[in-house]
């Protein structure tokens, strides 16, 4: 490609960073300006479409983490091309639309930024050839979706919808990551282009089934398949341009994309067929039914999107040339009409102040352009010739008729399509016909920015339906080739002759009209079943969330008792338990036999340390304890002297001196405090302490005998003088070989020093009040709370002046 794919993806992110500033500079028109990037990208992609259509594949690769086999490798084939065109083309329209929809909104710049960030992520997702790279972009789309749904973050509903979408899709993302890694392990490569070539090997691999299940969970959560579909209607809390872009045209297609992309490698097995078609079919029917029970325009569209995603999943589950052709055509057709209808819904909301279908009527006169776009899109959705929706529906009927269990699948598809046709009439035609009723805001035709998107998308649907040969055939063929893994050529045409599929289309249309007319009855019927909803997956989600919070709270109460020694005990007992168990099962317990080379002064020294340690523990006064501790420290320094560590010994002597000084400075003036623990507690603690001690002794004994790795000191021993010009190797290691560690260490030292200084010196409130007030405020934790968070919890009520 003329413009590298990496550049194309990154450009979205770069512009995202610049967007808020640009929005401030160009008041009002920023959307038009920003749309130039996706438009340019779309043109750039489109200019390569003929090459792709004739069977070329572009790829590029830049090393990223070569050690893990992760490269920035991208691949542009028919499928990626199709989606890239959707992402950039629709993206351009959406940016323009957003500028009109949220004109004057103080956070408009942020919306632009998120939208562009999403566009970059989504482009990366469909172009990535490395599955880990794909996963990274997959998660980025989830995050940008989260940010966009929660755009109006001051409303609780928006926040919880955003969180719900994130938890469901990112939870699925975790499954996906595991699945992709398993797949990569099974196939021995992380590159899609390699994996897709070894279908037979993968199918017989023991990791096939686990990786398939995990990947499907990822795809199903992202593409709102039952039982994960509930997040998509909730996501309608997002501003309408976001819903049109992410939650109908592009992001929710990511799961579909993944299924399509991986179907050459994973598809074609019974497991694939059964799980994907079943889930797809159920979702298709459920979504279509639920769409009819709604009265909010956006929610109708959301559920119909769920249904459409179900149809796509179903088709990909069926596999085979015809089904894949149908899926590709439907993917494009759906993006066109659903995007248009979403934009219309947003425009209606914006211009009339309502998006309740029961309160909108007769708007054709006031908003003719919008009405026209809405009408065309709705007819396309209902599958009426000669629009593109007709073509794709025709194809899917053909595929259903040839599928295994054709009767069931066809019946399901016809039922869903009847319901969706009715929904299309409700959304796209109902508000514009009939008698005009007063709306919250007096209806007026929208400005160009608000009708451009729907008009372009709707007319594209019409043009591509009338002249399917207009580039679509080639592109869809290339996409189909990518999905099937073998060359196919798709020829769409309006007239197939008097086929069964045509008859089914007619049935669908008539059924749709009947359902539309009797929609009131259906809504009443549905309202009786509404109570069923509380057993639905949305409720499961709530319960899981509640349970999780409860669990977190419970374990916090259990583990965070507020008593320091219980924290310590938990840590110690867990350590002793785990390490002890490992030692007991895998360790070779070493008998203490190494009594060699023992001098009398060694024994004397160790006995001295033992006695001083006991003295520290048992001392009755603080000063005695400090003195005993000093003896321990100096004696340990002597151990270092005896065993050839003069540097360490010297440091230890000096530090010990300073330690004793510090202890005395801090504790000299404090009164003695009584022992508080009961003898029972002391006994318990002694047992814990003794176990820890025994474990540590065992560790040392093992460590002195077992050697897993050759020591690296030999390197230092050889290179110390020639390379580092030093004879004292301890110092050479400290300042040269491991100098970076030492730099870190002195930084820690500096932090400790400054921390101590802050603890002692910072006195907020010293300036005001009398000296005694200042003293009291200092006693009450008057240290600056920001610099010392720990001071705050310690503040007791009575102490505050």
């Amino acid at each position: 490609m003329a413009v590298g794919m990496l550049t194309a993806i990154l450009s979205g992110f770069v512009l995202a960073i610049l967007a808020p500033g640009l929005n401030r500079m160009v008041r009002g028109g920023a959307g038009w300006l920003l749309a130039l990037l996706p438009l340019g990208l779309a043109i750039s992609f489109a200019s390569h479409a003929p090459l792709i259509a004739s069977g070329n594949v572009f790829s590029e690769s830049n090393p990223w983490v070569p050690a893990l086999g992760v490269d920035l490798s991208f691949r542009l084939d028919g499928l990626s091309m199709l989606l890239s065109l959707l992402i950039t083309g629709v993206g351009a329209l959406i940016l323009v639309y957003a500028g009109g929809y949220l004109a004057g909104h103080p956070q408009l710049g942020r919306l632009y930024a998120f939208l562009l960030m999403f566009m970059g992520s989504m482009l990366g997702l469909v172009l990535a050839d490395n599955i880990l790279l794909l996963f990274v972009f997959w998660e980025l789309t989830s995050i940008s979706s989260y940010l966009l749904i929660g755009f109006d973050h001051e409303r609780a509903a928006a926040r919880s919808a955003a969180l719900q979408a994130l938890l469901v899709t990112a939870g699925g993302g975790l499954a996906l990551m595991a699945g992709l890694l398993l797949l990569g392990q099974a196939g021995g490569s992380l590159e899609l282009s390699t994996l897709l070539l070894q279908a037979d090997y993968l199918h017989s691999h023991p990791l096939y089934l686990p990786s398939l299940v995990l990947i499907l969970i990822g795809a199903f959560t992202k593409s709102a398949q039952f039982p994960f579909h509930f997040w998509l209607p909730s996501a309608m809390e997002a501003p309408t341009p976001v819903s049109a872009y992410l939650h109908s045209a592009t992001m929710v297609k990511a799961g579909i994309y993944l299924l399509a992309r991986l179907s050459p490698a994973l598809g074609g097995t019974d497991a694939w067929f059964l799980s994907v078609t079943t889930v797809g079919g159920v979702t298709m029917l459920l979504g279509a039914w639920l769409a009819l029970t709604q009265s909010d325009l956006k929610r109708i569209l959301a559920y119909s999107t769920v249904s459409a995603l179900g149809t796509l999943t179903l088709l990909l589950g069926l596999g085979g040339t015809l089904a894949v052709q149908a899926a590709m055509a439907f993917l494009v057709g759906h993006a066109l009409y659903k995007g248009a209808l979403f934009l219309v819904a947003g425009t209606l909301d914006h211009q009339t102040g309502s998006r309740d279908v029961d309160r909108l009527s007769g708007l054709f006169r006031a908003m003719p352009i919008t009405a026209l776009a809405a009408g065309i899109a709705a007819l396309s959705m209902a599958g009426i010739a000669p629009l593109f929706g007709f073509l794709s529906k025709e194809l899917s009927y053909e595929a259903a008729l040839r599928a295994p269990a054709a009767a069931w699948i066809t019946a399901a598809a016809v039922t869903a399509n009847i319901l969706l046709a009715a929904a299309a009439f409700i959304v796209g035609i109902r508000p514009f016909v009939g008698k005009a009723v007063p709306t919250p805001k007096p209806a007026r035709e929208a400005p160009p920015s608000l009708w451009l998107g729907s008009v372009v998308l709707a007319s594209l649907g019409a043009v591509m339906g009338l002249w399917p040969a207009l580039g679509t055939d080639g592109l869809l063929s290339a996409a189909g080739t990518a999905v099937l893994g073998e060359t196919v050529s798709i020829h769409l045409s309006l007239w197939h002759g008097l086929t069964l599929a045509l008859a089914l289309s007619a049935v669908t249309l008539i059924g749709g009209v009947i359902v539309y007319v009797s929609r009131g009855l259906l809504r009443r019927l549905a309202s009786r079943w509404e109570s069923l909803g509380q057993f639905g997956p949305a409720r499961w989600y709530e319960l899981v969330l509640l349970g999780l919070n409860g669990l977190a709270g419970g374990q916090t109460r259990l583990l965070q008792s507020g008593y320091l020694r219980y924290y310590l005990m938990i840590v110690l007992v867990a350590t002793v338990g785990l390490a002890g168990a490992t030692l007991a099962t895998r360790g070779h317990l070493v008998k203490p036999t190494d009594w060699s080379g023992l001098h009398f002064y060694d024994v004397g020294l160790v006995v001295l340390i033992l006695m001083a340690t006991m003295g520290t523990v048992l001392a009755r006064t603080r000063l005695a304890a400090i003195a005993a501790l000093g003896v321990v420290g100096y004696s340990v320094a002597l151990v270092f002297v005896l065993f050839g560590a003069p540097d360490v010994a010297m440091t230890q002597f000096l530090i010990e001196t300073l330690t004793v000084i510090l202890f005395v400075l801090v504790f000299y003036h404090l009164p003695e405090t009584p022992a508080l623990s009961s003898s029972l507690a002391r006994g318990r603690d002694a047992v814990i302490a003794a176990t820890v001690g025994v474990l540590m002794t065992a560790f040392v004994l093992i460590a002195t005998v077992v050697q897993y790795q050759p020591p690296i000191s030999e390197y230092f021993a050889e290179h110390g003088l020639p390379d580092a010009h030093g004879r004292n190797l301890v110092n050479v290691i400290l300042v040269d070989f491991r100098g970076l560690d030492t730099l870190g260490e002195i930084t820690v030292l500096a932090a400790a020093g400054i921390g101590v200084y802050a603890l002692l010196k910072l006195r907020v409130g010293k300036q005001r009040g009398t000296a005694s007030a200042a003293r009291r405020s200092e006693l009450a934790g008057g240290v600056d709370d920001a610099s010392l968070p720990i001071a705050n919890p310690m503040r007791k009520e009575g102490d505050v002046p």
């Binding site: 520290t616 603080r622 510090l662 001690g693 040392v700 190797l729 002692l760």
Partner: protein, 115 residues
């Protein structure tokens, strides 16, 4: 000698842990120091003990004689001692402030803010 030191390390750890479990911040800090001694000796012993041959290249040699002590463990311990000192100083001064604020040496008195 390693065995003797292993026992000593065990005792230092045990004493340190025992002191840290007391209801006294002063003893907690004492325990911390004992624990640090134990840890330093542990690294020292685990690296292998060599009597009286410091890791310094003699003036007439260009590389360290094989019988010398391991310089790496010593560098590690040296670092640990100094870091341990700064941690100790921080702990002591923190205790100092806590005592000024709450007038108590008992950690249980401080758990108001921990819930």
């Amino acid at each position: 000698m390693a065995t003797l030191l292993a026992i000593l390390i065990g005792v230092l750890y045990a004493a340190g842990v025992y002191l840290m479990l007391r209801r006294s911040l002063f003893k907690l800090i004492l325990g911390l120091v004992l624990l640090a001694h134990g840890a330093n000796l542990l690294i020292f012993t685990a690296g292998g003990l060599t009597r009286a041959q410091p890791p310094i290249i003699p003036p007439d040699a260009t590389a360290l004689p094989v019988s010398s002590a391991d310089p790496l463990t010593q560098a590690l311990i040296l670092t640990a001692i100094v870091i341990g000192f700064s941690v100790l100083a921080f702990a002591l001064v923190l205790f100092h402030r806590v005592y000024q604020t709450s007038g108590s040496d008992d950690p249980d008195e401080l758990k108001v803010g921990d819930r």
